[in-house]
């Protein structure tokens, strides 16, 4: 008896994690570029370390070293990031990352391993949503609608 070929859900989960890992490394590098450009406030180092920690957690889940930062994300944000105060663009970056996690939570398999991945995605998404609020505040955004809702992932509520 033969069975039709099926995609291995474990592999697709690992690919999802690897994709997010590449985004986190790119985010870390973007904050590095800001620090190198004179972003001296301690918050920039904190955010850089946050994304480095997220990358480490994701790497641990798939038990694989990172394959490198996402060039696509780096190219998208690099121009405005290497300045002493990239708070407005950094808020956009955090919103973008949080939105990506929200989308990909729905692509993770419903399995023990998949749930661990979804749990990690959820906990990182929550932290990055917090980052976005802090950065929006630093950028002088006063409209609550621009702070309390992710403009990139406005679903349902």
């Amino acid at each position: 008896m033969t069975f039709p070929a099926q995609a291995d859900p474990a592999d697709s989960d690992a690919q999802l994690v690897a994709d997010q890992l590449a985004l986190e490394l790119a985010a870390r590098d973007l904050y590095d570029s800001a620090i190198a450009a004179g972003a001296a406030d301690a918050i920039w180092t904190t955010l850089r370390e946050q994304h480095d920690s997220f990358a480490q957690r994701l790497s641990g889940i798939i038990a694989q070293p990172a394959q490198g930062a996402s060039d696509e994300l780096a190219d998208q944000f690099a121009d405005g990031f290497a300045v002493a105060d990239p708070s407005e663009l950094a808020a956009q970056l955090e919103n973008h990352l949080a939105a990506t996690y929200a989308d990909r939570v729905g692509e993770v398999s419903v399995s023990t391993r998949g749930n661990a991945i979804a749990g990690a995605f959820g906990s990182i998404l929550v932290s990055e949503s917090r980052h976005a609020v802090v950065l929006s505040d630093m950028a002088g955004v006063t409209d609550p609608a621009g702070i309390l809702v992710n403009p990139i992932a406005e679903v349902g509520a």
Binding site: I43, V105, G106, S123
Partner: protein, 266 residues
């Protein structure tokens, strides 16, 4: 050997044999099946406990529970308003938060209906009775700093809301619903963060992010931070409220993310 000797030996043998037979019979009885009621019995006289129906914990139960939590946050803000409302920078956020909870509760109600369940119409009674009403009562009774207590209530419940939605991301199994829960979790975390910034704008990053410990103020109230931890948390919270009693202790109210006994099964 005499006749007398032979008779004496025979009696002893007979006695030994009889004792062995009686012991063996007792052993076999002890090893046999026990009949009758095996109930251990009860101390005291009381009616027998009812058999509770099995509750099905599924996606609908979680959606209904979260809807009850959002409605519970509306109960929190209604109670805060009765005590004078949030003031200053936190007060500027209150109406937006109320509108967000109304919107979220409505969206969750639609999700419950789409999933074949019945939406809830009031705050989750488990949390209302154990957390919301006790917290409001503690602030309203004899607060020594009502502004502080109301800020802490609003922050604590918003943070609890964020943790509850985050917990739902893995508790719910439908992939599309998981995406919705992730969005709700992110929005709840945004409200908690915005409120932390409004309450305590100078304490943005918790020392826990650099290996330290979260701080307390001069009266041992926890300091709120906009970035309280490296990752989103799922652990419970404890609110400290009200004036100290004669022993110096203040009211503590625990806030836990949903467990099976708090879920609103259909």
């Amino acid at each position: 050997m005499s006749v007398t000797d032979r008779n004496s030996v025979d009696r002893r043998t007979m006695l030994r044999g009889g004792l062995l037979a009686a012991g063996g019979a007792a052993f076999l009885v002890a090893c046999g099946d026990r009949g009758g009621n095996t109930d251990p019995g009860r101390v005291g006289v009381a009616p027998p406990l009812p058999t509770l129906p099995e509750a099905e914990i599924d996606d609908v139960a979680w959606l209904r529970t979260l809807q009850g939590i959002s409605l519970g946050l509306l109960e929190v803000y209604a109670g805060i308003d009765k005590l004078g409302g949030l003031t200053g920078a936190p007060g500027e956020l209150e109406q937006d938060f109320v509108a967000a909870h109304e919107r979220t509760a409505e969206a969750l109600g639609e999700l419950v209906s789409s999933a074949g369940g019945t939406p809830v119409t009031e705050a989750n009674p488990f949390y209302s009775e154990r957390a919301i009403q006790p917290a409001l009562a503690a602030a309203g009774a004899d607060s020594d700093d009502l502004t502080r207590d109301l800020n802490n209530i609003a922050y604590g419940f918003e943070e609890w809301c964020a943790r509850s939605y985050q917990a739902a991301i893995t508790a719910i199994t439908d992939p599309e619903l998981r995406v919705q829960m992730a969005v709700f979790a992110g929005e709840a975390a945004r409200r908690s963060t915005a409120l932390a910034l409004a309450i305590s704008p100078d304490t943005v990053v918790s020392p826990t992010l650099s290996g330290g410990q979260a701080g307390t103020d001069d009266n041992d109230f926890p300091i709120v931070y906009a970035l309280p931890a490296r990752f989103g948390q799922l652990t419970g919270l404890e609110l400290t409220l009200g004036a100290p009693n004669e022993d110096g202790a203040r009211v503590k109210v625990g806030l836990q993310t949903p467990a099976d006994n708090a879920l609103l099964a259909s």
